[in-house]
Symmetry: D2
Subunit: 305 residues, 4 copies
């Protein structure tokens, strides 16, 4: 039986050096090391790579981590919340501010600031977002899929660090299963009052299910949970395939029965994840664990060249 | 300054008697009592009443609590996950089974059972669901809103305890902001391969925003978080109005920055909830707190007649 | 296989009526019903009954729940944090105030108030506590056990709702495994500068281990976790016996590896809890679940008479 | 107002390079960066440095992190759970094994293994621990403080990576406020049946309070919570001083009202932490955040030489 190696810290050690040593520890440290090992395998092998992203990751500073993964070819399918895309678009011309969670929220409203935990957004950035959306949304006769709308928007964002732009350039499909539940949805609806824009609520299903049918081997990284997690997993469910590798970075725990905190083992009972899959959940703040896992994996890929 | 009254328990006491005494306690007990006080105010006054429901509440046994609230006129707008509606439909002809969270998930798959924490679903019930859906989905030339599709489905469910049926009969609009992210979405897509069925992804936005515009005073009960929470709050955001009363029952906490755990105070900074609103979040399993709050409030309403 | 019975709420229903219906639900509701069934069994049968209490239960209003259980003979051994006893003593002459968690803590300090989440304590009550302790602590030549000191203090508290007083009158031993980590410890140390008072750090171990040796059948209710949980379980560990019934009410979850959130199943691997034991953990705020479980169980005991 | 800098990852980057970039992110990432900044300040300046450690940190592989901090002079006072010291002693001759949290706990018992989440301990290591303790515990006429007992044990452990040994050699006092609540306590009690060994439960209070009185400026790192957190904070409370710098690494959140999850701001209302203190809580698994914070800080200290 393998034993715990007490972790040694060396000043100046690389992120991967630290994560490697965590593989002989317990609790979250070991799970993080396992996640990194699975991610290295996913990125090194011939897997169709899904990334399901929820939680306010872009406001919290994770935009470049995601767009960089896309540009490096490490994402084949992106399933994401509308909110993250809204903030991705805002970052292309504006910014998010470092605030504090201990705020007088009524005073913030009076100042024209909206709070996301310890991040503030200024009304002027939202106004600019609305103005931009009304300018770049498509005027089309034919009914679009959500994926097509996302691709169109990506083509209009002039920022190479943008998630939407990167996905557009790399030909990565972007699925947003709760599209009406975002300011993109709100803006699209307003736009459609005067222009021609219709999105078929179900068209994305065909597109993602087709991808799932075509997967010989597949892996998924789930950040948070929510609709992106479920949409990716249920799409695989309706095919004869299932995920071979799966990583979940979340703070939700299983005990309340919700999908976001459900174990990946539970997904095995549904046939979403293969009985023989390698999978792990790291229960910790993804603004810490996602950069760690990505930095350690990138270092391994570089070293293995 | 009010003081803590140490809570006295009497054998046979009613749920409301217990909750009332919790109003002089601390922590979750007091928050539950505050939630009940706000809910009593919401149901007694002239408020437009929203219910935003996520988490596997129907599999966990909360279906009648919700449908009963609808039938009693305590819900004016329902925003809900597709999954809860899937399970609502399954309950109209089938069942959910009492399982255990400590399961061999591969063995469950072999037996044809899918697990939701400690609840099991049998493949035959899913098969019957699919067969039913293919029979009752509408064949329509015109493009529908999601709300219209939900209303149509409600008209076809022959079960008065059904949430969808109750909403249909009581004329309560049902919004499902992540409709593609559910087996209803999957079935609708399959159906549309051979029949005529198109849902406009954005049409619901107009309907719910119109309702929000029309609210003089409004209140919301949020169970869980996710897309239903955000969709209801953002719809109010684009109007000059805001919620006057708000209750959240959730296990998510604010520290990870996600929307599900975001405080209701944070929503004040956005203008979703009024600066002068009364609101409270009860941080505990909603399968415990929702029945408690509803039972205590129903008792108060009955007593006040 | 048993099926989920959708929960029906009736205005005016008793706490037990609600909890009984939860036994056919999922998630926390079912666990609460299981906890109640185990507690009914524990209180009805011939079990040595341990109560391990941590978390600020007395400031939050749970003092009478505990002292009432003691007076009714439902507690044979109490293991408790020093802080809960400090607040028990303060309640015998003073009070805790209903405050708010959203406080300016520097301003509170200036006002002479100490905060425990949403409960405030006034400096004058602490001062009175200190004065009382210096008056009632024992002046003894012989070295005492912690249990003896607790018994002495209980004899001096003139309040029949006091936990310490109730335990004294009912001859229930009170163990406080982290005695120095409390204001009782601080006061005892100050007192011992001028008077004769020595407590043997290890004497309690003999007393509780002797009780554990004598248990034919035993049950434990753990509120929170911490030192009381571990002290009770480790004392049983060193005997040939183990707990037959165990209930844990806590918000800690297992994933971080700490003892407070450790599953009761984990305790089976140590031999602290019997392989054949009935046990359940309810993951929710104990200020909600403890009163519910106790009220439902008391109703059952009354009905069964 | 400072803005979010989207985090860029570079393969091979050092831990500190990553943590520095987190200072312009949100949520847990920013808090981790703040904790590191505070820790750098604490270790660079003239602060009396407390470390309060709970949770199964030694079984999880954090022993060398702690003993290395002690040997480098970065810990002036250690407050720790007995369990961590038990496992520190076991590591001096034996080991902890890498297991899994999904275990058959009855089978583990049959195999002679005790589980701590995903770490296993073998009965033979516990047996060797007991044998060692009976050999090295002191036979003394005079009554000892817990700190003296810890110092004696440290002198007997022949392992320079041991926390107890390192503290002994570096003359760092070790306080264990729940000493009876550990296998050291159990062994000490057994030993005292035949030999002379008495520990005064309150003697440690004098020693730590004296240290607190002598602090001009002080800082504390709290891992987990529990008795070590409270004991350190309450000891400062009874002096005119208060902590100037404070870091908490924990998974407990404030909402349930327990001390472990209480905010450091709450400690300001008590006067335990200075109104002008710099403090931060990182809500995430400490087996991840502690090595990160320490590695980043060590790199900064090295670079600043």
């Amino acid at each position: 039986m393998d034993v715990v190696h007490q972790l040694d810290i060396e000043p100046g050690m690389s992120v991967n050096a630290l994560v490697e040593r965590m593989s002989h520890c317990g609790f979250g440290a070991r799970r993080l090391a396992e996640a990194t090992a699975i991610y290295e395998k996913m990125l090194s092998g011939d897997f169709t790579k899904f990334l399901a992203l929820s939680g306010a990751m872009v406001p919290a500073g994770m935009r470049n981590v995601v767009s960089d993964l896309i540009r490096k070819g490490h994402v084949d399918v992106l399933v994401i919340t509308g909110a993250n895309l809204v903030h991705d678009i805002i970052e292309s011309f504006g910014c998010h501010c470092l605030g504090t969670a201990e705020s007088d929220d009524a005073a913030l409203r009076a100042e024209g600031k909206s709070r996301i935990y310890d991040i503030f957004l200024r009304d002027e950035d939202f106004a600019a977002f609305e103005e931009l959306m009304q300018r770049i949304l498509p005027d089309r006769e034919e009914i679009l899929s959500g994926r097509e709308l996302m691709s169109h928007l990506g083509s209009k964002i002039n920022d190479e660090r943008s998630i939407l732009r990167s996905a557009y350039e790399m030909d990565v499909p972007v699925f947003c299963p709760a599209l009406p539940d975002s300011m993109i949805g709100l803006q699209a609806w307003m736009y459609s009052q005067t222009k021609k824009l219709t999105v078929d609520a179900f068209a994305d299903i065909k597109e993602i299910v087709d991808i799932c049918y075509g997967c010989e081997r597949s892996g998924i990284v789930i950040v948070g949970g929510g609709a992106p997690k479920n949409f990716a997993l249920q799409s695989m469910l309706v095919t004869p395939n299932s995920f071979d590798l799966a990583i979940q970075l979340t703070t939700d725990t299983p005990e309340n029965g919700g999908l976001s905190g459900a174990t990946l083992s539970e997904a095995v009972s549904w046939g979403k994840i293969s009985e023989n899959a390698k999978f792990v959940t790291v229960y910790a703040d993804a603004t810490i664990t996602l950069p760690l896992m990505v930095a350690a994996t990138m270092e391994r890929l570089k070293n293995s060249k």
